[in-house]
Amino acid sequence: MRAMVYRGPYRVRVEEKDRPAVEHPNDAIVRVTRAAICGSDLHLYHGMMPDTRVGMTFGHEFVGVVDEVGPSVQNLKVGDRVMVPFNVFCGTCYFCARGLYSNCHNVNPNATAVGGIYGYSHTSGGYDGGQSEFVRVPFADVGPSLIPEWMDEDDAVLLTDALATGYFGAQLGDIVEGDVVVVFGAGPVGLYAAKSAWLMGAGRVIVIDHLDYRLAKAAEFAHAETYNFAEYDDIIVHLKKITEYLGADVTIDAVGAEADGNFLQHVTAAKLKLQGGSPVALNWAIDAVRKGGTVSVMGAYGPLFSAVKFGDAMNKGLTLRMNQCPVKRQWPRLFEHIKNGYLKPSDIVTHRIPLEHIAEGYHIFSAKLDGCIKPLIVPNAA
C-alpha cells in the first residue's frame, strides 16, 4: 500500500509499505478514505516529539471503510463506514472505566503519562497512522463509530480530533454565562474552541494569532473579536486594557508546543529540542486570565520540561485544566450540534491534497502558505 513515511525532521515522503495485518483478535483494518494533517503532527514533523522513528506513518485524524476484522470483533463488519477517534483505548482499564479514554493504561507500553495515539511516535504507543491507504485499528469494538448516514466525510474526519478537541478546550474552561474567553491560536482547534465557547454561554470571545487570514476566519466562522499580537508591543497589556484591567475569565491555549516565542525560546525549544516546546502561548494564557480564573490547555506539549510561569499561576489562584481530548465522549453531543446547524466543521477546510503530494502538504501547513487553515489528505484508494 502507499503510505506517508517520516524520513527525519522536516522530511516526509510517500512509499510502498506492507498492508497492516490483524495483530490482535479485536483489531480491524480500515481502508482510509479521508485523513487530515493536524497541527500536532507538526510537532512530529519538526522532530520535537521524542521517539519519532524514521519509517513511521503519521496521521491520527482519519475516517474510512472497514476492510477486515479480527476474529473477536463483534460491533463492526466489513464494509462499515467508520470514523475513528485519535485515541487508541481499551474501554475497561481503570481510566477508560471512568471515561478518561485519552489516558488508557492498556495500549501504550512506551509511556504511562500519555495514552495511545495513531501515528504519533512511539511515545504514544508506536501505532502507524492514517495518512496511508490502510491502517490497523486496535479495539475495533470500542474506538470507531459508524458515520451517520447524513454526515459528510469531510465533517466526520474533523470530528476525530480537531472539532472534538476544540469543544473540549472550551469545556475545560468551565465557562459560565457572560464569561470573557480568550483563545490563543486561530488554527483549527482554536477556531472550534472559540465557536464552542459561545455554545457554552460566553459573553465575549477574543481570538489571538499572528496570521491575518486565520484571524479573518475566526471573525467569520467563530464570530470572534480578533487581535494580531504582532501588531502590539505587549499583547497582554492590550488584553488587560480591553477587559477593564481585569483579564479574561477563561483563557484557552490552542497553540501548544509550536509557539514561535522569542529568539532564545525558538532556539532552545524549536531547534535544539531542549524544552518540551516553546511555552509562550501557555504563559500568555496564564498572564491574560484574571486572578481566580481558569486556564484550559489542550494544545499539545511533549514530555520534556517547559519553562512555564508556574509561580504566577499559583499566586493568581488559577485553575489549570488540561488533557488530551477523550474524543468518543464528545460525539453524541457534537452530532446534535452539527444536525442543528450550530456547527459546520468542514467550513474551515482550505486544502485537499492527494496522498502522493503529502510532502508539499506538510510544508504548506507548516509554513502557513496559501491561506492554509486545514488540509485534508485524500488517499489513492479513497
Binding site: 524520513r7 522530511r11 512509499e15 495483530e23 490482535h24 479485536n26 522532530g47 521517539d51 522513528r53 524514521v54 519509517g55 483505548f89 474501554g91 475497561t92 472505566a97 478518561l100 507500553p109 504511562t112 511515545t123 504507543g125 508506536g126 501505532y127 502507524d128 469494538d141 469545556q171 459560565v176 454565562e177 470573557v180 457554552m200 454561554g201 459573553g203 465575549r204 499572528h210 496570521l211 491575518d212 464570530h223 494580531n228 499580537f229 501588531e231 477593564e244 484591567y245 514561535d260 531547534k271 529540542k273 511533549g302 520534556l304 477523550p326 465522549r329 464528545q330 453524541p332 453531543r333 450550530y342 456547527l343 510532502a359 508539499e360 506538510y362 510544508h363 509554513a367 502557513k368 502558505l369
Partner: protein, 191 residues
Amino acid sequence: MTYTPEKPKTAESSEALRARIPGWGADLDPADRPSVPRERFDPTFSGAWWEFPERQPEKWPRERSIEHKFLTPVFGTACPPKGVSGAIRKLAYRRYSEGRAAHWLLLIAADRVDAAGSTLRSFLTTRPDNPITETGVLSEISHHGLASRRGENRADLRHQPLDPIIVAAPWVLTGALAYVLAKRVVRRRRA
C-alpha cells in the same frame, strides 16, 4: 470595574448573543456537558465486553517504560528498534523512568542518529533521500510562498532568516571537525 466589586458588563446581552450566534447557550449548563474529564465510573459505556483484554503476541522484546508493571496487552509495532539508534532507545527505556530528563533526551538523541543513519543508508538503495522533494519546498513556488509572506505581519518571519543557519550549523561544524580529524590521521600515517 476591576477596582470595585461588580463584574464589568459585556457589550452584548445574552439575548442579543442568542439572536446573533447560532446555538448560543445550547450548552449553558456545565453539568450537561459531555466530556468533563472528571472520573465518572461507567465501565459499560465504551462497548467493551472484556474486563482485561486478550494479549497481543510479543514478536520481539518490545521496549516499554519501566513505570509499567508489564507489557500492555495491546501495542504498536510500527518501527522496531534497529542499529545504533535502537540501542540508544533500548537503553533509555531499560534504564530511566519517564520522570528522568535522561530518558527523553536519549530518545531525542536516538531520533537524530536514526535520521542521519537512515539518510546514509538510503544512498545504498534505489530510492535515496531527496531533500528537494521530501521537504515539500517546491510548494513555495506552486502555493504562493512569497505572496503568503509579503505584507504580512507574521511573527515567524523574524526567525526565518536565522533558521537555515541554526539548522545547517551543526552539519557544517560536524563536517569541518571530521575533515580536520581525517587530515590529522592522514598526516600521522605519512609521518
